[in-house]
């Protein structure tokens, strides 16, 4: 039977907790206490879809196996401390999909896992259209619809929205967004991104000063809220 989620944590208590939460949610899972075990299980057939990875492992630094897990086709969600922004950015850069901060809320964790599983389940049916919370974007027609209404975006805003919508629910780091929209030369020009996000929020958000769609993870990046 396919194990959808691979739980990688050296703490037995945490593994148990995650296991029972996943059991209740009806998600099949396997457990690994070390990086070695994790890589072995990740390479088993059928391979798990999502890896829930605690970075503090006894045998190796969790960050080291992020690229290997990603290369094996797993969607990696890391468990990390709230203020460890650099660790988050590093993991995302290495191929992780998402992060959940400890101490975690199991409901929020399950939501993230479901989202990752959804992305894994079916390759997106449509290559040029993406949906997000309350709206959609079409790369061919350049149509952006929000709450049923057409929205006019500048090319820059359009590219930014597409870069986010192409990875629904995932955190895109500041640098990856800057590179995708402005080019590699502008990876550090955070101001560009802040200004573009503001104007995008003014056009898309219900209350631009209390954004619910374009969500910022301070010090890390942006996430576009998924369609329910």
């Amino acid at each position: 039977m396919r194990k959808d989620v691979l739980v990688i944590d050296d703490e037995l208590a945490i593994r148990r907790l995650l296991a029972s939460a996943l059991d209740r949610a009806g998600i099949a899972h396997a457990e690994a206490a070390t990086a070695g075990d994790a890589l072995r299980l990740a390479a088993a057939a059928p391979a798990p879809l999502v890896a829930l990875l605690d970075l503090g492992l006894p045998d190796r630094d969790g960050l080291e196996i992020v690229p290997q897990l990603a290369a094996l086709g797993l969607s990696v969600i890391i468990l990390t401390a709230r203020d460890a922004t650099q660790e988050k950015v590093a993991a995302l850069d290495l191929g992780a999909d998402d992060f959940v901060t400890k101490p975690f809320d199991s409901e929020e964790l399950l939501a993230r896992i479901r989202s990752a599983l959804r992305r894994k389940a079916g390759p997106l049916a449509n290559v040029h259209r993406r949906e997000f919370a309350g709206g959609s974007i079409d790369r061919d027609t350049h149509d952006v619809v929000m709450r049923g209404e057409q929205v006019d975006l500048t090319p820059r805003e359009f590219n930014l929205l597409w870069a986010l919508a192409d990875h629904p629910g995932r955190v895109m780091t500041h640098e990856s967004l800057l590179e995708a929209v402005w080019g590699p030369a502008h990876r550090q020009d955070l101001d560009y991104l802040r200004v573009a996000v503001r104007s995008l929020r003014r056009k898309l958000e219900l209350v631009p000063s209390a954004p619910r769609l374009l969500i910022n993870e301070p010090g890390v990046g942006y996430r576009l809220a998924e369609a329910d």
Binding site: E11, A13, I14, L17, L18, S20, A21, R24, A81, R82, D83, T85, K102, P103, F104, D105, S106, E107, E108, L190, D191, Y192, R194, V195, V197, R198, S199, P208, S209, A210, P211, I215, N216, E217, P218, G219
Partner: protein
């Protein structure tokens, strides 16, 4: 050198300034004993006492005179202290009690008195100087013949040399009151038996009391007093900026020679300097010849220098081969206008042979006035060293020339005659370079005669027949003489430089040895051993530890006698030399020198020598100073190393504590994460809904405590380094709300975010943490039914986050609000680590922002976090404003 005038004025001003804090000295000066100085002093003191002054009589000699004793009655008299000396108890002035008693004015009779051996100071004037330094006014009496610079003059016409002298410097700032009595009246008093004379000196002193001598002494006293008034007037003129009519910038240079005559020259120079109101410098020239000067003469030089110093001269020692040249150079460098030099009354023959330094100076000193002081012949001879045996040099030279001639005679068959004159130069060079210049010159003479006797026709006579031989003879004589002189000079220089090289080698060795030890005991041992060997003394190093004296560096000695200890403490406390051969506590066997460096007093070096005479020879003084410096530096290095080690140990402890804290916090966090996750996954419903909620919120609080502790330790270690990035303050507020929603408190927070908030440069992590702490606090200190309000708005030059609550408000004393572990009143009820606001403050300030709190209108508290658009420490960059 710069113009000495400003320095002079500065010195003068400094002297005056020092005088302000010092006690004032009044000297009742008389021409002779019996003029009524003590009487007059007591009269004046009575007047002062009537005016309300606190007068103490330290010493008053009544010499059995009833009028004087009567005058003493109204005064408080300090009991004398007994000083034990050779089984006798001598009564002396009790300086310690006097200093303790601190009167406004103290009377100390007979300034020139010599204290009993074993007293703190050898001389009473030194006691008086100490009283003055500690701010006590002193009145004293003095006879004119006891003044150092007048000593010679008085001795000159009275034929009595007074041994007890007082240096002029102590009288410089004194008020001089002349107690005058016409000589006739004085003689009357003497004849009436009214004048007390000690038995032993009776006859000698009686010689004073002739009309002519008393008149001369009286004139001297009056002149001295007038000069003193004059000098003080000039001091005042100079400080008030008015120039007096004297030649400014005048300076005297006096050449100090070994021998007793040196003192005479120095006293003369002092008088000249006083007349010209000029500063003066005593110069000793250490010539390579002078290194051979006998030990007793070296001590004479040291004593002469000490005399010059006590008379107010600046001291200077220069090394040179040519004494006269060096003196003139020094005079030029110091811009002296006069050179004072002694000249012995010697025969022309003596001068022709030895030359005269005074003559040389006069020849070379263009642009200077040269004052030549005639000296007694006995002293003059000492001015230049002479061989112990005057026949040694010619005899040795003769022997050498004889030997050479003999060898030449043996070699005659193979030697060309021409070579003989050259080969006869060999003994000359040998004698000059091995024995000395004199021997060289003698050898030159002998060689010339030998040549004449053995090799020129007619042979074996001292006649020369061939004109060619005459020339050869003359050339040989000349060359031999020149060679002899040169070779002698070379030898002297070689000796000097060998001495310098030896000295440098021993200094280098000393430094090397000191550098290789790493604790105080071995440093002291090495230093004392080396100093002992270099200076032929015993050496110890003393230091004060916890108020007690510690002796180091000596194998047998670990404790000092009382008087030695007193001298050591004196040096340690005041940083001045004390003990043997010094002006303080010289009854001690040890001479102590401070080991002082820029960072403080490292201890004191004590030196002693079993034999009589000075502990440190005059020409070893420089070496001693260098050794002291190096020893002090070695101790300083040890001290600094020790401090560094302590700091390292402290840092290491601190680091370990930090590491321990963070490791504990980490270890606690992991299980706590499980607890929280477990608590979150239990549905808060049914019978145990409250328990579940309590478990959740308490677990979250515990988690926050841990976080606070970790942040606090980071702050304490100065490990807060903000990572500034451009951020939208709106995003930070939203992130705070998301974090708080996890804590199930989100429902109580309202936000009011301005639409037009600019972007700022800040650290998102620190800012979020600071805001969470504030909101958390607000939630904690207000009732559950009330709302907490988070406002974000632009202000001039930045943005402001405001967190408002409807809680109990701030404590009465809000100054401690942002202190560590400062809790608001009643916070025990709601719980808290006491670190939240402190962390918020530290984080805000690390980003260049400010934080403040105040009571809110209508109840509750409000906290303001204001952040600049761009942190102050950076250059403003253009921010792409929305």
């Amino acid at each position: 050198m710069s113009d000495p005038r400003p320095a002079n004025d500065a010195e003068r001003f400094l002297r005056l300034a020092q005088r302000e804090a010092r006690g004032r000295l009044t000297v009742y000066l008389g021409a002779a004993p019996g003029v009524g100085k003590t009487y007059r002093m007591l009269q004046e003191a009575a007047r002062r006492k009537a005016e309300g002054a606190d007068v103490l009589v330290g010493i008053a000699e009544t010499h059995g005179r009833s009028e004087t004793a009567q005058l003493l009655e109204p005064f408080e008299v300090l009991p004398r202290t007994a000083v034990e000396y050779h089984g006798h108890a001598l009564d002396e002035f009790d300086i310690d009690t006097a200093l303790e008693r601190r009167p406004g004015l103290i009377l100390v009779d007979e300034l020139a008195h010599t204290n009993a051996p074993g007293s703190r100071h050898p001389k009473r004037w030194q006691d008086v100087a100490e009283l003055l330094v500690s701010g006590i006014d002193v009145a004293t009496t003095l006879n004119i013949q006891h003044i150092e610079s007048l000593n010679d003059i008085v001795a000159g016409f009275t034929h009595i040399r007074v041994r007890e002298t007082v240096p002029d410097s102590i009288l410089d700032s004194a008020e001089i009151i002349v107690v005058d009595l016409p000589p006739e009246a004085l003689i009357e008093r003497l004849q009436a038996g009214k004048i007390y004379l000690p038995d032993t000196a009776g006859q000698a002193l009686a010689n004073f009391f002739t009309l002519a001598k008393l008149a001369a002494l009286r004139e001297l006293a009056l002149r001295f007093a007038a000069g003193s008034v004059d000098r003080r007037l000039l001091d005042q003129l100079a400080t008030s900026g008015t120039e007096g009519g004297f030649a400014v910038g005048e300076r005297l240079l006096v050449a100090v020679s070994p021998g007793k005559g040196g003192a005479q020259v120095i006293r003369h120079a002092k008088r000249l300097a006083d007349l010209a109101h000029a500063p003066w410098t005593a110069v000793v020239v250490e010539s390579s010849g002078a290194r051979a000067v006998a030990g007793s003469q070296r001590e004479q030089v040291a004593e002469n220098l000490a005399l010059a110093s006590s008379l107010g001269a600046a001291l200077m020692t220069v090394a040179a081969t040519d004494v006269a040249e060096a003196l003139v150079d020094q005079a030029r460098e110091l811009r002296a206008s006069q050179i004072v030099i002694g000249k012995s009354r010697r025969s022309r023959w003596f001068e022709w042979r030895h030359g005269s330094i005074a003559q040389d100076v006069i020849r070379k000193a263009r642009g200077f006035t040269v004052q030549v002081v005639p000296l007694d012949e006995a002293d003059g001879k000492a001015a230049r060293p002479r061989d112990r045996n005057p026949y040694r040099a010619p005899a040795l030279a003769l022997l050498l020339v004889f030997a050479t001639t003999g060898l030449l005679d043996l070699a005659r068959p193979v030697l060309p005659t021409d070579a003989v004159d050259m080969l006869l130069l060999l003994p000359v060079i040998f004698a000059a370079s091995r024995i000395g210049t004199a021997a060289g010159l003698w050898a030159a003479l002998w060689a010339a005669l030998a040549y004449n006797f053995f090799y020129t026709a007619p042979l074996h006579t001292l006649f020369i027949s061939s004109p060619g031989d005459v020339i050869t003879f003359a050339v040989l004589t000349l060359v031999a003489a020149v060679l002899g002189t040169f070779a002698g000079q070379v030898r002297r220089q070689a000796e000097t430089s060998a001495g310098v090289a030896r000295l440098n080698a021993s200094l280098a060795r000393f430094a090397g040895l000191l550098g290789s030890v790493s604790d105080r005991d071995s440093t002291a041992r090495v230093a004392c051993r080396e100093i002992g060997a270099l200076l032929d003394v015993e050496a110890i190093i003393v230091a004060k530890e916890d108020g007690a004296l510690i002796v180091r560096g000596h194998d047998r000695l670990s404790k000092l006698d009382l008087v030695d200890e007193a001298a050591a403490f004196w040096t340690l406390d005041r940083g001045e030399a004390a003990g043997r051969d010094t002006g303080t506590l010289n009854a001690s066997d040890w001479q102590f020198h401070p080991l002082q460096t820029a960072i403080g007093m490292m201890g004191a070096l004590g030196v002693a020598r079993g034999e009589q005479g000075r502990v440190i020879r005059a020409d070893d003084a420089t070496l001693l100073a260098t050794l002291i410096d190096q020893t002090a530096l070695a101790h300083e290095r040890l001290l600094l190393e020790e401090e560094a080690r302590q700091i390292d140990a402290f840092r290491e402890r601190d680091r370990l504590r930090g590491a321990l804290l963070s490791s504990i916090a980490h270890d606690l966090r992991t299980p706590l994460t499980a607890v929280i996750a477990a608590a979150e996954s239990i549905p808060a419903q049914g019978n145990y809904a409250d328990e579940v909620r309590i478990a959740r919120s308490e677990a979250r609080r515990l988690e926050r405590f841990l976080g606070d502790l970790l942040e606090a330790s980071r702050i304490e270690h100065g490990a807060i380094e903000p990572r500034f990035e451009s951020l939208d303050p709106t995003d930070v507020v939203m992130a705070v709300l998301r974090d708080l929603r996890q804590d199930h408190t989100g429902g109580r927070v309202d936000t009011r975010i301005a639409h037009d908030c600019p972007l700022i440069e800040a650290d998102p992590v620190l800012l979020r943490h600071a805001l969470i702490n504030l909101v958390d606090n607000a939630l904690k200190f207000s009732a559950e039914a009330t709302q907490v309000e988070v406002t974000l708005e632009p202000v001039a030059g930045g943005v402001e986050f405001i967190v408002r609550d409807r809680g109990q408000g701030l404590p009465a004393d809000p100054t401690a609000l942002f202190e560590r572990f400062a809790r608001l009143e009643g916070s025990d009820r709601t719980g808290g680590s006491g670190l939240g606001l402190w962390i918020a403050k530290n984080f805000t300030e690390a980003m260049g922002g400010t934080i403040r709190g105040r009571n809110r209108e209508g109840g509750g508290a409000e906290f303001f976090v204001t952040l600049p658009l761009v942190p102050m420490r950076r250059e403003p960059v253009s921010v792409g404003n929305a």
